[in-house]
């Protein structure tokens, strides 16, 4: 009887097999895929279109005293509309709230995918799949890395779909510096944020045996991560204490980086800070995740 192939084996063997398994479970399930697409459509069309902040002044018809002559009234209205555009541009960075929040939605779907990567960990444990994997010579770190990578790949695909939908629902008012190459930067930022976030959520799931616990954690964290960031609304208008939270929330940096690359005139200094923060976040949380896998997964 021939022995299996311990000697020639790659230390990361099984990593792609496990990643691919999670991806297959995802793309073979059209309902989950559909929901992943429908959810951002609902958000974008409800929140993005309903909260027409830019239209607040353009659609506003003030009643002015009759003493003001008609041409002057027209001038005032035009000036107000112009002022509102300026206010929007100063606060949101773009005159169009839809574009602002559509790009924020990319961070939003990445965040959600990361949160549910922890759920699949809990399910694998409950169904005994995890135990079976742990009885094979796969490196414990690979088990978690596979979860992280599959979440990252799913997140990037969903973010692409969101961007596509935003373009179709549109109009997406892209910034003056935008070229197709900027998309590479967008993907880099989203890669880092999803790597960091999914590491954290998998880490939370690493010891949990109940999906209810994991659901509770996801529910607890998703609102603060979402709203204590600039994903839907600019942090500059928030109270001081909330701004402090947004400054440590990695979603803020991912959203800022993607907005800079797609919507804004790029501020290289700020963009560098965004990427430094995201890079550190991704490296630190995935390292902790893999280091703890040795302690908590094996034996």
């Amino acid at each position: 009887m021939s022995r299996n192939n311990g000697n020639s084996r790659n230390p990361l063997h099984g990593l792609w097999a496990l990643t691919n398994r999670d991806l297959k479970k995802w793309y073979k399930n059209p309902i989950i895929l559909m929901l992943g697409i429908i959810q951002p459509i609902i958000w974008m069309s409800l929140l993005g279109k309903a909260m027409n902040l830019g239209g607040m002044f353009t659609n506003f018809s003030p009643t002015l005293p009759p003493s003001i002559s008609l041409p002057l009234q027209e001038q005032i209205k035009a000036a107000m509309s112009d002022l509102s555009k300026q206010a929007m541009t100063q606060i949101f960075g773009t005159a169009d709230y839809f574009s602002y929040m559509a790009v924020g939605m990319m961070s939003f779907v990445v965040m959600f995918t990361a949160m549910f990567s922890g759920m699949s960990m809990v399910f694998d444990r409950r169904l005994g799949f995890l135990n079976k994997v742990l009885s094979t010579p796969v490196a414990r770190g690979s088990v978690l890395l596979a979860k992280i990578f599959s979440a990252v790949i799913r997140a990037l695909v969903q973010a692409t779909i969101v961007l596509g939908i935003a373009y179709v629902i549109g109009p997406l008012s892209v910034g003056p510096d935008f070229t197709v190459l900027n998309l590479l930067g967008v993907y880099a930022a989203l890669f880092l944020i999803s790597m960091g976030l999914s590491s954290i959520f998998i880490l939370i799931a690493i010891r949990s045996t109940r999906q209810e616990t994991q659901m509770a954690v996801v529910n607890l964290l998703n609102l603060p991560l979402m709203f204590a960031s600039n994903a839907l609304f600019p942090a500059s208008l928030m109270p001081e204490w909330l701004q402090t939270i947004t400054k440590i929330n990695p979603v803020t940096y991912a959203t800022d980086a993607t907005r800079q690359l797609i919507l804004y005139t790029i501020d290289m200094h700020q963009l560098a800070i965004d990427f430094l923060f995201l890079g550190a976040f991704a490296v630190i949380s995935s390292t902790i995740c893999i280091l703890l896998s040795w302690r908590y997964l094996s034996k």
């Binding site: 009887m1 021939s2 022995r3 299996n4 192939n5 311990g6 020639s8 084996r9 790659n10 063997h13 099984g14 792609w16 097999a17 496990l18 398994r21 297959k24 479970k25 073979k28 399930n29 444990r125 169904l127 005994g128 799949f129 995890l130 135990n131 079976k132 994997v133 742990l134 009885s135 094979t136 010579p137 796969v138 690493i206 010891r207 045996t209 302690r295 908590y296 997964l297 094996s298 034996k299």
Partner: protein
């Protein structure tokens, strides 16, 4: 290479500091034998298996599986074992074939080799026709067979089966037994299995260990254990059973014990088939008429009864209190297997 596939010394597992699941267990499994761990639910069978397959760390003691220490060389152990867990662990969303290939990848079997082996194994467990169907559409028996194929993909030296027929119907159970026998014949590997079905252990295992409350009570070949009870059981009734013929029967050679219960005699005899006619002759010679006679070979049921003082079925049926302990153990096991230190 030693003669023993598994050597276990003083293995102990205590969950949450007070729940003793496995209590200083010692045993060895010889190369090439089917070794059965027999005991009621909650006796510590799965905990022992989980320690041996390196997903649970023992509180005390050590074990060596195919010459690798489970603590010092866990990867060495993992390389040479195959595992069929109690639960169905195949991924329902994938096809049967994809599951087998996934297992091959987890062992690092090169792709061309894994395809060859997967085809062979799927054929062996008679799933070739269904290999491209999603596992969600499989029946319980098919899923069990798929688990067998997955567990064999790395050509293990020691194959662990945790309750391989749990929850299967009678036909599927018999079919699974045939597969296990076939595997032993075809690959000559060592098989370590747990079960709480006595007839299963009797039929498949070369040797069994009876485990109860975390302790091994007795180990031996099923036939030896049965013979250790002192032979066959014969029951006999005679007409006008007022007169006691116990002393008469006791005089017959090879009769070991006679008990009279409600007019029938329960007789322990050696070589029952040969001794029975002699007993009948002896009784008739005194003018008694034999009205009923039966001869049974002792089963592991009797062995279990003898050593634990209760029947395994009683144990199964008296679930109150016991179930609570089992639940606690399952919970602790699940938490600890994954969790690590609290």
């Amino acid at each position: 290479m030693t003669e023993d596939a598994i050597i276990v010394k003083g293995l102990t597992k205590i969950f949450n500091k007070h729940l003793v699941a496995v209590d200083h267990v010692d045993f060895t499994v010889k190369k090439g034998e089917i070794f059965g761990f027999l005991g009621p639910n909650g006796a510590g069978k799965t905990t022992t298996i989980n320690i041996l397959i390196t997903i649970l760390r023992p509180t005390e003691g050590s074990a060596v599986v195919c010459d690798h220490d489970i603590l010092k060389d866990a990867t060495g152990v993992r390389d040479c074992i195959g595992v069929v867990p109690q639960e169905y662990t195949a991924d329902e969303d994938l096809t049967g074939y994809e599951n087998v290939i996934l297992c091959a990848d987890l062992y690092g079997v090169p792709r061309d080799e894994s395809k060859k082996r997967a085809d062979e194994l799927v054929e062996l467990v008679e799933l070739t026709k269904f290999k491209d169907k999603q596992v969600a559409t499989y029946s319980g028996g098919m899923r069990r067979r798929l688990e067998l194929a997955c567990g064999l993909i790395n050509r293990p030296h020691v194959f662990f089966l945790d309750e391989p027929t749990l929850g299967l119907d009678v036909q599927t159970r018999a079919a699974t037994w045939n597969y296990i026998k076939l595997l032993k014949k075809q690959f000559g590997m060592t098989i370590f299995m747990t079960t709480h079905y006595l007839e299963e252990a009797d039929m498949l295992c070369d040797r069994v260990a009876i485990i109860d409350h975390g302790k091994i009570i007795v180990t031996g070949a099923p036939n030896d254990l049965k013979e250790s009870l002192g032979g066959d059981i014969m029951t006999l009734s005679i007409q006008d059973g007022k007169e006691d013929v116990s002393d008469l029967i006791k005089k017959v050679p090879k009769v070991k014990e006679v008990k009279k219960q409600d007019g029938t005699y329960r007789i322990k005899v050696e070589d029952g088939e040969e001794t029975a006619p002699t007993i009948i002759d002896a009784v008739r010679a005194e003018g008694h008429k034999v009205t009923r006679l039966s001869l049974t070979k002792p089963t592991l049921d009797e062995v279990y009864l003898e050593y634990t003082g209760r029947s395994i079925r009683e144990e199964e049926e008296s679930k109150e209190g016991f179930a609570a302990q089992r639940m606690a153990m399952r919970k602790a096991r699940g938490g600890r297997a994954m969790g690590g230190h609290p």
